[in-house]
Structures are given as C-alpha cells and as structure tokens.
Amino acid sequence: MHETARKEPLRREPDVTQALAADHGLKPDEYQRILDLLGRTPSFTELGIFSAMWNEHCSYKSSKIHLRTLPTEGPQVICGPGENAGIVDIGDGQAVVFKMESHNHPSFIEPYQGAATGVGGILRDVFTMGARPIAAMNALSFGAPDHPRTRRLLAGVVEGIGGYGNAFGVPTVGGELRFHPAYNGNCLVNAFAAGLADADRIFYSAASGVGRPVVYLGAKTGRDGVGGATMASAEFGEDAEEKRPTVQVGDPFTEKRLLEACLELMATGAVVSIQDMGAAGLTCSAVEMGDKGDLGVALDLDAVPCREAHMSAYEMMLSESQERMLMVLDPEKEAEARAVFEKWDLDFAVVGETIAEDRFLVRHGGEVKADLPLKALSGEAPVYDRPWTETAPPPPLGEIPAIDPAEALLRLMGSPALCSRAWVWEQYDHMVLADTVVRPGSDAAVVRVHGTEKALAFTADVTPRYCRADPLQGGRQAVAEAFRNLCATGARPLAVTDNLNFGNPERPEIMGQFVGCIRGLGEACRALDMPVVSGNVSLYNETEGQAILPTPTIGAVGLLESLDQVIPMAPGDGATLMLLGPVTGHLGQSALLWELWGREEGAAPPVDLDAERRAGEFVRSLRDKGLISAAHDLSDGGLAVAAAEMALAAGRGVALDQRSDLPALGWFFGEEQGRYLVAATGEEAAAEIARAGRIAGVPVARVGEIGGDTVALGESRLKLAALREAWSGGLARLMGEDAAG
C-alpha cells in the first residue's frame, strides 16, 4: 500500500471491452448496438450510463410490448403510466397520485434498509408530482413459515417499513402478507403510496426551456448502490476501496424535509420540472427530464454534493443514494428557491443546465466523461419479444380428506395465511394525519380527503396460487379481488397500479406466466373500468432456478363521495347474513387444500368479469337503499372464513346453514369468485335484497345469522373465543413470541 495512492487514488479507468460490458449485464448484441450507435468505443462512464439505462429495471425491455396491451385511459385518468406515478381525478379539482413499486432483492439481502428505502422511493415518486402522501400500503411475500430465514426477513421488513413510514409521517393503512416456499430464496416487498394534489398543480419530469439551471436537492451523494450488479471495484487497482454494500440506507428525516421543501418550492412557482433520483440516480433522472422535454442536458459533476471524497464520474452517475431530487428551476425565482432550501437545511447545488441539442454531456474535473445522444439512451434501448409457452394445466383435483368443518375453520383461521395481521400493522403508524376512517384489517382501508367529507379506499391484492395454476384467471382474479374489496367498503373503484413480480423472463415458461397474467389483468381492468395508471415490473425473482410464484400485485384506489357511504365489516347482533354470487363448491387451488394438506391441485376458480361487476354494483346499490348494515368480500377460505371474519369483527358468534345439495367442505370453503356476504338490516330488507338480486342478475341466498358466542357451520361448531385465540395469536406464534405480549 503506497501512501500516495491513499491521498490520490488511481484515476485510471478500466478499458471498455465486451467482457467489461458483459460484467455490466449487457449482452454481446446490446454492446454491439452501443458501438453502432456511437461509432466508437464508449468511455467507462458512458458504459455505466448505458448499463443503467438499458437494464431490465429502467428499460422494461422484456415487458414493454406486453404492457402496451393494458388499458391505461378513462375519463377519470389525468396521467397514466410513464410518469413518476399515475394521477386520477377525484372531483372538486383534486387528484389522487399513486404507484406501487418493488424492492425485492435489497429486502432479501438487508431486510430493514431494503424495505425502508423501498418505502422512501415510492413516497418520493408521489411527492415529486406535487402530491402530499396520505396513505401507504405494502404487499409482502415470504418463504415457508418454518423456513429458517422467514422470521428474520418478516421482522426486519416490517420494522423497516414502519421505521421509514412512521418517521416520515404517512399512515400505513393496508397491504398483504403471504408465506409460500416458492419465496424461500426471494422474498417480495411491494410498496404502495398515494398522495393528494390539486389537479391543476401537478408537476412533471419533462424539462422545458434552454439554458435553465438543473438543480440538485437533498441528501449528499455517496457510493451506496453504485452498480449493484455491475462493476467490481477491484478493477480500479490493487488499492481498491473496500466493497460497499449495494443496499442503500434510508433517512426518513431527510425525506420528510425533502417533502416539505419540494411542496413549498412548488408553491413559489420556481419549479419547471422535477424528477426524483431513484434507480440509477443522477443518470436516470437527468436523461428522463431531457428525453421527455426534447432537450439535452449538460452536467458538471464538480458541483454535486458528495458524502465521500474522490468519487469518480462513474460512481456519481450510478450512485443510488437516497432522498435526492433533480429539478429544472426558473432562474428568476432562484432567491425564493434558495430561501426554501435553507429553511429546511437541505443541500442544493446547480449541477448543470438544459441545452438545445440532443446531447447528454457530463463533465468532471475539467474533462468530458460522457458525451452521448440523449434520446437514444431511452429511445434506442433494446426491446424484446421473448419466446413464451402456455402454462401447463395443474394436476387434477384429487380426493379431499374428510374433516370436521369447524376443525378445518379453526386450523385455517390460525394458519399464517389467514390469521390476524395486527402483529404487522400495529408496528405501522396507521393513524398519523388523523384522517384514517377505516383502519387496517377490513376489506379496504379508508382515508378521508383532508378537510372534506370525501374519502379514498385502498387495497392490495393478488392470489399467486391461482396465477401459477392459470395465469389468465389469476391475472383476472387479482383485479377482481381488488375491485371486490373496494366495493365491499362502499367505494367506487377508480384505477389500479400493478407491481408485476415474476421469475426469469428468458425462460419461456416464466414468460408464459407473464403474458398470461397480463392478458388477465388487461381483461379485468377493461371490464371493471379500472385502468392501469402506473406500475413496476420486477423480473429475475429466482434463486438457483427456483422461481417465485407469479405475483402480479394490484394496488387499487376507490372513491367515496361522503363518509356515510362507508360500509362497515362488522354486522350487528342478530343480523341476517346473505350470500351474493354463485355457489359451485370450487375447491381447486383453495386455501383449504394448501393450508391443511399442502396440496395445490385443480383448476383456479374461473372469474366471470360481467358477474363480478354486477355483484359489486349490486352491493353499493344495497347500501344506497339502506338494506345492509355490513358487507365483506369472499376470497381465500370462502364462505366460512368470510363469516368468521365478520363474527370476529362484530365480537359475536355466527351460525351458517348447511346446504343439502353440496359437499360440506365445498359449500363452506369453496372459492368461487364474485361473491360477498352482506348483513341485511332486517327481515323486510332480507326479502328486498332477494328481490333486487333477481332483477340485477345476482344470485342471493340467505345463509345464516350473527349472534351468540358460537361459530356454527351446520351441525359442526366451536366457540368464538377459541377461534379468536387461534386467529389473533397466529403471527406471534410464527415469530416464536409470547402471544400475550
């Protein structure tokens, strides 16, 4: 080790070769494309820029042609996919801005920081557009409950989500949690955020105007996240710096200040365009702003606020340090802008300017480090139509063992799949901002639009078991279940964001799952009038050739015109329960089969989208007529689980009738789609619901009653208290904690 080397680290950059390009994840034909485009060999920094722009995450090269088939428009849509988040009109000049994004790999490596920075990233996507975040959700998938990694990942991810969201000050109001061995080597952390903005005060990333300052705002740039999957720092020489962790570290306090500073800055009129620095940091954000605005960008990296000494251009361009923003400002408002930055004690610097040519020019230390055609960086990125094969049908449904229905219910409700999630959401501040009207644990969470009588409903859904058995039906079902959860809460569904988690797209059977799910999602979004306004694709979720279950998570948002439109989940004592929707006793791919016997057999339940829509609209019409006091959707575990959940919410027992024309398990635990349980307000109401169902084309059956302290499934019964104990302590048992604590 030479002393001089420490003070003045090697500036020599490695020679760019095809092998180095391959280390950056660029295929030989992709590297050739770069050579053809430039007519020369790229510099080291340029190679880094290309690798960042052309990787799967930024370019959507495997998914693009399929994503284009999704419906993205509707009268309610202000801005669909392509911006930081989708924007939907909610009337009165207001808009909801939302998106969901994955942070799977980082969370698997470092669960706390991986999940925390996932939350940070999605919050930035929302407030970059001028919206104040008002709700967050997360959809989590972990390996088998007894896998040695599961407890540590679950504990760390939940703590990280809470650690970031709680300090930032956004209520985390809902989400999903599942366990399946297919996620043993690859957990999923999908983070959703929604914000509120004035429809005419929305900010976009497209730069405009030549010669305007490009301003950097927020945390300093460090080496965290540089080329996570790309560059080995050993290439710099024998005195290579210690390897940095590739997972970034979140700082919610800086994010909170960044939020407030951005919103104040936007109010001054100084912001021309704005883009947060997420994946591939400065590279992606600068190119995005130039590309969308048909402008070039010249950056001078000497001005970038750095956390570490001697950072190279390559490192600065690829750093994924958190809590940073890039903006184009109106030069005439610089004094106001400066006052805002100083008030919030945030670093800011003019790091470049917009230029007229189609050029991305990066200078550092007086040298040109990159000089590229800007538009080509995104416009010329490769696009693949990858080969795919139809998903083979699942094994047929075999014989189902006999089991006492009440015993089956007790085991299901205490299972990690269906037990209470309070252990998770009590670690999230779900009430900050004092507008949470329906808290977690119901069909959809409801958050009041501050200062109004309106409210928004949020839910996140997908059933990966169905998606693997039948991608088309599974894709439909994810949207249908989200639709159902919104309707059961009384909301009118508005739109969705999709977070598509799949395995390696270079394998035709995985690509087949992707194509099938997308088709299903698209059909359902069209049929249910829920366009896709934003989303994220996460591919290569596999370890040692073992892919995750196809998991296209749907985050959905609905609107309630007034708070009295909320339909509670808890019925009153003596309420008559009515089942809306079809009855076939469908046990293929059911929670019962999987949780009790570890079997994944039979066809996924078919989704009739017209029937789904009729049923959802029917529930809201019953609410409008004052015929129901409570509603709940049917999903995993079917009728018995839905009734048990209503009983637990009400704190009273429930008695469900047996049906003579169906096997008991099919009747109680079948997972037919498009179904709800509603509580009629009285005898007359029950009769009126049946009549209205005939007219609306929705099957209606009277199935039981709320009351007492027993849960009865026909002749089979158990005490509500025993059910509550099994259900409420499920996650504490999984975590090996004292259930009483």
Partner: protein, 232 residues
C-alpha cells in the same frame, strides 16, 4: 384559548394537533417554526406535537430540546403558562428539563400503534378538569420510545403530589400489566409538572377527537383546556 403549535422539521402530528385545537378553541393556533426565538403575544397554551423532531436517531427529543424556540417555551412555562407535549412532544419536554423522568424504548422493542384505555389519574389540572370522576377514556398510542421510567423516589413523589394525569388500563379502568403497551413504570401514560400546568403524555388525544375517526374522547382534553381559560 390562544394556542401555539411548535413545528420542528420532523414533526408530523402538527397538523392533527392544530385541527383539534381549532375545534376546541374556535380559532386556529399559531404555527411556530423551531428556528423562531419568540412566541406570539398573548399565548395561553404551547403545544409540542408528535413526530420525529430531528429524526430522533439519537435520544428522542434531545436535539429539539435545544432548538432556538425552546428558550421561549421554558420562559412561558416558568411564567405559569400552559404547555402540552404529546408523544415526541413529551420526549422534548423531558429533554428540556420541564418534566421529570425518562422515556425509553418500548419493552416489546417494537413500535406500537393501537388504541389504549386510560384512567384519568387526577382532575386537578387544566387539562383534565373536564373529565368525569374516575373516567376511563380511549386514545391511540403510536410510538417506539414510550416506556416512562421513574426511579422509586420520583414514582412516590408523583403519586404523593397527585401528578399522574393518565394511566394505561383495561377497558374497565384497571391498570393491569397486559394493558401497559410499552412497559411504563406504574402504567404511567402522562405526567404533570409541579405547578400542574405542563403536561406530557404518550397517547394522542388529537387522534380521537373526531367521531368520524372512531371516537371523540380526545376532544374532552382540549375542551377542558378551553374551559379552564374561560373560567379564569
């Protein structure tokens, strides 16, 4: 009632507090930035809201307690003015030396957000005089560092001087161990100063002060404050 809410850069319950104060007082409170050095004229109540004042990566509230505005808050308290610190606000008041004891990490080591029941420990304060005798109320908690710790001398003194404003209880008003969400000494959820005009508490009255949110027990605390001023 003329109220001021102190806003630190990481405060996140400042708006919630302002909404609850406005509902009780009929006028919005002054929002006072932490870099200010003086309170507006004629302030009756200073409220320190919940949140993560300066990130709270070190001891919660330690940096906020040294913010420029805190000299004015101390002077206000010394002159007999009313001060309410909720959650992070209580942490700041302890760090500022305006209330005794310490707030440590929850016994569970986890953040906890849920409704809790509280017994009103004393009605002899402007904050609690409006509650019924032996009242049991429901407020939410949301904190990671809310275990109130008092040594034996302080514990006895707080009891003797009737300065425990709230205790965590079950729904029936019993301070059972299972009803203690964070491991606080004696289930203590809120403490008054010697002159009974400074209150620090972990639970959030401002979060259940509106029936649309599922309860309005919290509104009684703010109504009590407003009434005490009218009576004075």
């Amino acid at each position: 009632m003329r109220a001021a809410v102190i806003v630190f850069p990481g405060s996140n319950c400042d708006r919630d507090m302002a909404v609850a104060l406005e509902a009780a007082a009929g006028r919005p409170p002054a929002m006072v930035w932490h870099k200010e050095t003086a309170l507006p004229e004629g302030i009756d109540l200073v409220a320190l809201p919940g949140g993560f004042s300066f990130g709270d990566y070190l001891r919660c509230g330690a940096i906020a307690a040294r913010a420029p505005i805190m000299a004015a808050v101390r002077a206000h308290a010394a002159a007999g003015g009313m001060v309410l610190g909720v959650c992070n606000g209580w942490q700041v008041l302890i760090e500022a030396g305006l209330l005794p004891g310490a707030l440590m990490r929850n016994a569970s080591l986890k953040f906890v957000c849920r409704d809790v029941h509280l017994a009103v420990g004393t009605r002899a304060s402007p904050f609690t005089q409006g509650f019924g005798n032996g009242a049991v109320v429901r407020f939410p908690v949301a904190h990671h560092d809310g275990a109130f710790v008092a040594d034996e001398r302080l514990r006895v003194r707080l009891a003797e001087e009737d300065r425990v404003a709230f205790r965590y209880t079950d729904a029936a008003g019993k301070p059972a161990p299972a009803a203690n969400p964070n491991g606080s000494t004696d289930n203590i959820a809120g403490v008054l100063s010697e002159n009974r005009r400074v209150l620090g508490m972990m639970p959030h009255p401002e979060r259940l002060a509106d029936p649309a949110l599922g309860g309005k027990d919290g509104a009684q605390l703010f109504a009590s404050l407003a009434a005490s001023l009218e009576a004075a």
